[in-house]
Symmetry: C2
Subunit: 380 residues, 2 copies
């Protein structure tokens, strides 16, 4: 529990990287997918089952947790790990992104952002310093600087303004992180690269952040609706200017195909609500692509999601039963599909890690994509 | 899997009975509490976790299952046990009670009941024969005759009419059960005693049913809002006229206190939505009574539900976390509290079974009641 944050690069295969994070709460094998635990729970899952899928780290959202149950309360209760019975690594975002997307009202100024809670209408303020303080109270192992993610489309000037404000907040966040004892606690703070889809601004942001003593770097402002190729191009152009000895985290990404393509471009860490949200809405991810279990064609299919799936759940429940549960609005349907999806994402990352170690990443990626293209075995 | 239904009375302690059912899907230790799995799932629970709490049998609802996914479909998919991944004993009701309480429209005649689905407005008909056919298609181990549960308050004539109609349907149900091969499959059919709160009508019903070759007897028409003492009095007056060598099932009961009082009056089997429904609404059952986790007093309680609780769930999650999950509307809150509640009910039944075996039922019941009266250890 007293290990200091570190990152070891174990192997390269083209731009793809196989690494290992060490944090005060354990090891994280990279490339890593981090399930999202917004409100101190990965929705519909028991924490030990999340762990069983192979997840080394989950993400907590500062915006939600500061509003309910509150960072000071979590601190009094022994920190987020203990609160949510997750003794492994926790990464937190800064809260900034969700303030802009969820809060009822918000007003950004050079010092921070003031907003109204979507839960009870109460007013709150988030500054770079307060975000770091909250993340420290939660006990987060891997923390994020507060940044501004400018909504696209936007003018180059507007994107540049947001990127430079984020650089200023990066410095303030680092100072606060050191002031709150983050390094002594063995924790990490990541700077966040911004710059929209402008490659020159991305270079400026990545270069400036690389000169600051962050333990890792996040790529923000993507996965906001842009075409996949734009995301790939910006990611490749960004990782090129980041130090090779530090981990890179592509925020909010993505589909299985996004993950494979981004690992190929040098990304080490990912988070996304997709596998959990899709599970609650009746969608399963498998080696053969996505299945919508609401669809009537599954109503009498005795076959499981995947007879060679990554968890007992994927192998032992019929599609007909999952169809029934989803149609009937039963919680068990959400639990089983979420479980399958997280397990599928973790199995995918294991395959990629092994392939990088063995120097056959491109071949493995091609085999994986073939499975998706071939489509569902039962329906074909 | 080919065992025929049987009931063995292992011990008596006053009117309380310790027994064992054998069914085609395993043994059921009695007195037994059966969690309710309305739509082919005990809400918010994985079937293996229901089993881990000690449940030997779950209940399925014919009304819900005939509408969705449909009995013929379940049959084509290999039966309800396989469909819901519950390889242990299943008991089904006849559908009659929920037709009267849930269907949008219903019309009762001497031959059966016609009703409109609350799901899609389609019209359906349930007769004694069709109910047995459905229960056979589901593969239910312990089946119920179709009966009429007259809503109280009602005149004595009305209660008598419903009771005598139920006797007629009992005969028709038995004939259908034999026609559909129930006895050869080793399954059981229970007759249902009716008669409202009129002890003479209850005697008439119990005596008439006892002369028919049922494998067990249910006590219906209680747990519909009457005072506990009325329920106890009717139960005692009914069990007095039932054969001692057959199991007795008090339908829809009840609170932990109802269970203790009814076991004392000779009941062997119970079902109730209370522990599962209460769990989804933030209420936990413990040795020290009920706890409403929504209550603000739990917001910073690091104590678990019960440090000596019947499952790891009851011991390892703080009340503060459960409070947070329930307030935030997170599914995990419903899962954890449902789990605790089912585990508490099963632990209670184990205590009662052991006490009857050891001839100290009254003493044990007194100790159990003392715990409830003492109240919550943390708050006091």
């Amino acid at each position: 529990m007293s290990e200091r944050f570190s990152f070891t690069l174990l192997a390269n295969d083209g731009a793809a990287r196989r690494g290992r994070l060490s944090t005060p709460h354990g090891l994280v094998e990279t490339p890593a997918f981090m399930p999202v635990g917004t409100q101190a729970t990965v929705k519909a899952m028991l924490p030990e089952h999340v762990r069983e899928t192979g997840a080394d780290v989950v993400l907590g959202n500062v915006y939600h947790l500061m509003l309910r149950p509150g960072a000071e309360r979590v601190d009094r209760l022994g920190g987020l790990h203990r609160f949510m019975n997750w003794p492994h690594t926790i990464l937190t975002d800064s809260g900034g992104f969700q303030v802009m997307s969820l809060a009822a009202l918000r007003k950004l100024d050079a010092d921070g952002v003031t907003f109204k809670s979507h839960i009870d209408g109460s007013m709150h303020r988030l500054t770079p310093e307060r975000s770091i303080e909250i993340q420290g109270l939660l006990g987060s192992d891997i923390q994020m600087q507060l940044d501004e993610c400018v909504r696209l489309p936007a003018s180059r000037d507007e994107i540049a303004r947001g990127m430079r404000l984020s650089l200023d907040w990066a410095e303030r966040s680092r100072t606060a992180f050191e002031g709150f004892g983050g390094p002594e606690a063995g924790r990490a703070l990541f700077g966040i690269v911004q710059g929209g889809d402008d490659l020159a601004l991305r270079e400026e942001s990545a270069t400036a952040l690389s000169a600051m003593p962050f333990e890792g770097y996040s790529i923000g402002g993507l996965a906001v609706g842009e075409p996949q190729q734009v995301m790939f191009d910006v990611t490749a152009a960004t990782t090129a200017f980041l130090p090779t000895e530090k981990p890179r985290y592509l925020m909010g990404v993505g589909t299985p195909d996004d993950l494979v393509g981004s690992v190929a471009r040098g990304v080490d860490m990912f988070d996304c609500v997709m596998p959990t949200r899709a599970g609650r809405h009746g969608v399963a991810y498998t080696r053969f692509g996505k299945l919508n279990l609401k669809n009537a064609r599954h109503a009498e299919q005795i076959a499981p999601l995947d007879p060679e799936g990554p968890t007992e759940i994927s192998r032992s429940y019929s599609r007909a039963y999952l169809h029934h549960l989803i149609r009937a609005g039963e919680m068990l349907g959400a639990t089983l599909l979420t479980w399958n999806n997280i397990a599928y994402y973790q199995a995918l990352m294991r395959r990629l890690r092994t392939a990088i170690e063995e120097g056959r990443f491109d071949d493995e990626a091609a085999v994986i994509r073939e499975g998706w293209v071939r489509g569902d075995v039962v329906s074909s």
